[in-house]
């Protein structure tokens, strides 16, 4: 494995800078920055993720794959995903975290942690993690 990671090569995987600027402006115009501590924003993010759970809680797994087909469900899903992303980007901003760098680091760690030939087809090998997970062990 070489060190030619995306970051080293200057590849960008996620660009949220325009959104972060927009959210900062939105908060400043309303004098809401005072409420946007990381602690508060984590709770706000949690609330939105709770709403996402409410959409899917009684839905069978197979039906969840078609959630985009029913217009009403699709609209609700889209709104909650947007809300989660808005709070996540705002939280990263106030914490000074570069999401692209964070993601690149995590993907590199995941590639080492989950070698394709060892974990193929097994959810046990990634019982908690997935495409990027620090793990607890």
């Amino acid at each position: 494995m070489t060190d030619l990671t995306d970051a080293a090569l200057g590849v960008t995987l996620v660009d949220v800078a325009p959104l972060a600027a927009r959210l900062e402006q939105f908060a400043v115009e309303r004098d809401w920055a005072q409420f946007h501590s990381p602690k508060n924003l984590v709770m706000a993010l949690t609330g939105e993720v709770g709403e996402l759970n409410e959409i899917f809680q009684w839905m069978p797994e197979e039906a969840s794959k078609e959630a985009g087909r029913d217009p009403q469900t699709a609209q609700a899903v889209q709104e909650e995903l947007a809300d989660v992303l808005l709070y996540l980007v705002r939280l990263s901003s106030v914490l000074g975290v570069d999401l692209d760098a964070a993601v690149q680091q995590k993907l590199k760690a995941n590639a080492l942690r989950y070698p394709a030939d060892k974990v193929r087809g097994s959810s046990k090998k990634h019982s908690q993690p997935e495409a990027g997970e620090s793990g607890k062990d």
Copy 2:
């Protein structure tokens, strides 16, 4: 208010396409796409948000603003933010949701819902919502 929104003007606020492609490849190489139903991914996302809560649960609000200064806390925060984003992008992919379009729609709705001159400085006016919130009423 004109209809010259960012979307109409062709402005992109978030670009997660390269990351989405990377996560798809990561899943395919491991034969993990079979586990990535929206329902499962919502739960995985929730697990990561839970870990974010654990970092901040006993931290006073003021201290949370400085969470990026302690190297150990900063690293933990960065990893959890990355994990949340990875699952959010993967979830949007399997649902076929365009996060940029979703965010643009939500921001437009928020601007109408929270006029700056009416909600300035009040957290009551956005008791649940913030920089993008569909609301429940």
Copy 3:
């Protein structure tokens, strides 16, 4: 419908008083009551619920019904359920909420909101709610 509810009849549905006393003692002995604000405890509760999600996130719904049969999974589930209950009881204590009264009130509201003959067999009728839910409308 008469007013002979359980509460009116003096029936107790949940009794958590001995546990609440034990948790208070535990906190006092460690001088931890200072950290147990409602806001902090909500986050701690959320962290535990996140861990519960991690146990079930890749598990098919059918398999989740048998989660108690595998000793390792059963032990993990039992620990997380206990953690959720501990924080919930502690949170109720510091807020001064009587959980039995709260539950009785909620069950009464649910019985009115979900008449058996109207919602039978339909998850749509309780898309968010279930055995006790205030609803958002």
Copy 4:
């Protein structure tokens, strides 16, 4: 330390049996038991915890201690705490977990893990855990 734990002595710390029976009856009358898989119930529980977060997200920690004084907030808090408990008890039922036994086991483990004279006054010593936490290390 003797083995004279509460469980050994026959002490009950939590009794949720009457509520569990009531919820079973409620579900059966509506033919809702079919939706109450552990996986679904974990998501429903998460949704309620999300609503609890929404109440406290912009509230300063000090104000959260007085959340019971404002009648409207108190009512909302009481309803969400009830909802969380209802789903938690229902989830434990379908999983066949004895909450009292689970709590007793957890308290015993916590007493060993957090000796009062070693962790007094420090939130660092219980950065994730509290009155009952399995820990990840």
